[in-house]
């Protein structure tokens, strides 16, 4: 059985990570015909410069954000602000692109850095603040969205990107092992979050990227929040509940290691082992995972993986429902973003899934979810990377306790 297999040892070589990414970026800029890229979205800045995103509120992340400028055929990127210490970048003064004065500073710096390209050059950009629009930043350049270029470079991970995701997942999992020990009847969500955030720091992770989710699941959908899909609501904001014996908790967390995200998902019961009905949901989930793993290979279409997962649970789905939440997917990618391509089984529809295929270097978070109304359900997440021959697990091996994997 391929589940719970430990990941192979992957060693992060930071110099190689930077070199490989920058080379890919330069190559893709040439393909897309860009003279320059101006990047404000923190994961994009990190991709170009290795100046890492911080796990802070969006308002703070935006206020005095670093900006990366990548010029075609230049040996290193420019970094405006951020901390250039130890990075292979051309450092420039910080700007505050959210306020008009700061955006004007950014405009002046871009004029100087871009030179002739500021006038009629083809410049890719991922975001403009209102202040940049008001102050006319890059108004004389030919502006195009950088999204496709960034999407292309991040789709197939380098070995060091895999190492980062593996580390993020392994460390997040170890922190979660401590949290699960603290999950006893009467404990509050805030207490579990406190353990998790302390343990992340102890694991050397200082950027928690989503407010960690320990969602108590109503046993019947009708007793849970109303949804636009008529299906499950997850992951929701749920305040600070106190957990009681017998509660069914769906867990979800994501935190960055060297700018790459983990995605931890498990189902826990509180204060008692799972019931037989709950365990049967887990076993259905395992069957879906096994079928998905079997189907994952370079060249397989997204649709083939979805079909294999669906067939594995078809006997339990009289209405032909697929074993994942309809507002999500069977699989999403992970990397510098917590959810990025490849997406399998989304509302992009069957044509999209049929037209796209797995490629070596893609990273997939499998997150099927099984639901039996009245019982509840089982959901967990596992990460794999597609290889030349098949796939390898990243950060794998976290137990499914208190559920039992049948021998």
């Amino acid at each position: 059985m391929p589940i719970a297999r430990a990941a192979p040892e992957l060693e992060l070589d930071v110099e190689r990570l930077r070199r490989d990414r920058y080379a890919k970026l330069q190559f893709q800029m040439a393909v897309d015909g860009f003279d320059a890229l101006v990047l404000l979205h923190a994961p994009h800045v990190a991709y170009a410069t290795d100046c890492l995103p911080k796990g802070v509120d969006a308002t703070h992340a935006s206020a005095n954000r670093p900006v990366a400028v990548v010029l075609a055929d230049q040996p290193q990127p420019c970094l405006l602000g951020g901390d250039p210490e130890g990075l292979d970048v051309d450092p420039h003064p910080a700007v505050w692109p959210d306020i008009d004065e700061g955006a004007a500073d950014l405009g002046a710096q871009l004029e100087a850095i871009l030179g002739q390209h500021a006038r009629g050059g083809r410049v890719g950009i991922d975001l403009m603040t209102g202040a940049m629009r008001r102050t006319g930043v890059l108004s004389a350049a030919e502006i195009t969205d950088a999204a496709n270029t960034m999407g292309a470079v991040k789709l197939r991970k380098t070995v060091d990107e895999l190492a980062c995701i593996h580390q993020a997942q392994a460390r997040t999992s170890r922190a979660m092992a401590s949290v699960q020990e603290a999950l006893v009847p009467g404990v509050r969500r805030s207490e579990l979050a406190a353990v998790f955030l302390r343990r992340l720091r102890e694991e050397g992770i200082d950027a928690n990227m989503i407010d960690v989710i320990f969602q108590p699941m109503a046993r019947r959908m009708a007793d849970g929040p109303r949804t636009t899909t008529g299906h499950l609501a997850f992951p929701t904001w749920s305040g600070d509940p106190v957990y009681a014996e017998g509660d069914l908790i769906w867990v979800d967390a994501g935190s960055d290691y060297h700018g790459y995200a983990s995605d931890f998902g498990r189902t826990w019961t509180v204060g008692r082992p799972p019931t037989g009905a709950e365990q049967r949901c887990f076993e259905r989930w395992l069957a879906v995972m096994d079928a998905s793993y079997e189907a994952i290979a370079p060249g397989a279409s997204f649709a083939e993986v979805c079909a294999a997962a669906t067939a594995a649970d078809a006997a339990h789905q009289p209405d032909g429902e697929r074993p994942w939440m309809p507002h999500f997917y069977l699989v999403h990618g992970v990397g510098i973003e917590s959810a990025e391509m490849p997406f399998l089984g989304t509302d992009n529809g069957p044509d999209f899934d049929a037209a796209n295929t797995l490629e070596p270097g893609m990273v997939m978070v499998l997150e099927p979810a099984i639901w039996e109304d009245g019982t509840g359900g089982y959901r967990a997440e596992e990460i794999v990377a597609v290889t030349e021959n098949g796939w390898i697990p990243l950060g794998g091996g976290h137990p499914y306790d208190p559920f039992e994997v049948p021998r």
Binding site: H60, L127, S190, I210, A233, T236, H327
Partner: protein, 313 residues
């Protein structure tokens, strides 16, 4: 009227005064301000995409949310749009939005070439203009309930500062202890990056949408002798950025708005000279480096500034 409806009224009035017909918002702080919804907190910058629309004339809101958990009752489930991964669906929703077809001016709180292309397909004859400044202007002064929320958030951050100051371990251990204490006290979502660097300890959090924060040093001087004392005293109605520069100590300092996170005004040695402080603004005031550092969250009143963060954490 509940707080979020009072806030929405402010935003609607400001947008109407700016001649905006439709708002297309993607920044979570603006969305929280207008809707009052509790949506999943995620760290870091975001690409621009439509998460919330507001028809300025009718007040009608559509919000990107697959469920009604955390969504105030005034936004009904038929005004929720489920999460989508499909650009065509985003386009169809915007195009079907009542008021979009006749909108002359559509306000956005950020911009990207891709989203500009999508919007120009939806509203080919409308002006698409940035309104982040309009919304932030409306948010600049705080209502009494907002001040209460900020004070409560400061108390949570103070628990983190106290735990880190009391801890005798390494900086990393003290930081972990602070983060743990802050979550236990009610916030697992940091505002700025927490700092524990030798003598300096600074924590901030987002709690129920509002930011609270403070910074201290071990064995801090009495409040009047702290490096930001003169800056705080200068935070009175009518004070300009220039006035604050004159009151500022040598070295690093920053005065900036604090509400639903980091907000204008931003006043430091480089920016904000012409900003003018108003009664009911809430400011984060920090100064000092090395052995002497302090930060507090401060309410501008008609007389002496009121410090919202606890004096002794």
């Amino acid at each position: 009227m509940s707080l979020h409806l009072q806030r929405r009224t402010r935003a609607v009035e400001a947008l109407a005064a700016a001649g905006i017909d439709m708002l297309v918002a993607g920044r979570q702080d603006h969305i929280n301000y207008i809707t009052g919804a509790h949506q999943l907190w995620t760290a870091g910058t975001r690409p621009f995409g439509p998460v919330c629309t507001l028809n300025v004339a009718t007040g009608e809101i559509f919000l990107l949310s697959t469920w009604d958990e955390g969504v105030p009752d005034d936004i009904d489930i038929d005004h929720l749009h489920g999460i989508t991964w499909n650009g065509a669906i985003i386009y169809q929703r915007l195009a079907a939005n009542p008021g979009m077809a006749t909108a002359q001016r559509v306000g956005v709180d950020a911009w990207s070439p891709g989203m500009a292309g999508l919007l120009s397909a939806v509203v080919p004859n409308a002006d698409v203009v940035p309104v982040d400044d309009v919304l932030l202007q409306a948010r600049r002064t705080k209502m009494p309930s907002e001040v209460d929320a900020i004070r409560a958030a400061c108390a949570v951050a103070a628990e983190a500062v106290a735990a880190a100051l009391a801890h005798s371990g390494t900086d990393a251990q003290r930081l972990a202890a602070g983060v743990e204490a802050m979550a236990q006290a009610g916030s697992s979502t940091p505002a700025a990056e927490p700092r524990v660097e030798g003598n300096i300890v600074d924590f901030s959090c987002i709690r129920s949408h509002y930011e609270g924060g403070l910074g201290r040093t071990a064995n801090a001087a009495s409040p009047a002798a702290r490096p930001h004392a003169a800056l705080i005293a200068a935070c009175v109605p009518g004070a300009t950025g220039q006035d604050l520069r004159r009151a500022a100590p040598d070295g690093e300092w920053l005065v900036r708005g604090s509400g639903m996170g980091f907000e204008p005004p931003v006043i430091n040695a480089r920016y904000g000279a012409s900003e003018v402080l108003e009664e009911h603004m809430v400011l984060s005031v920090s100064a000092g480096t090395g052995e002497e550092y302090a930060r507090d969250t401060v309410l501008v009143t008609e007389s002496t500034p009121e410090i919202l963060s606890p004096e002794e954490p």
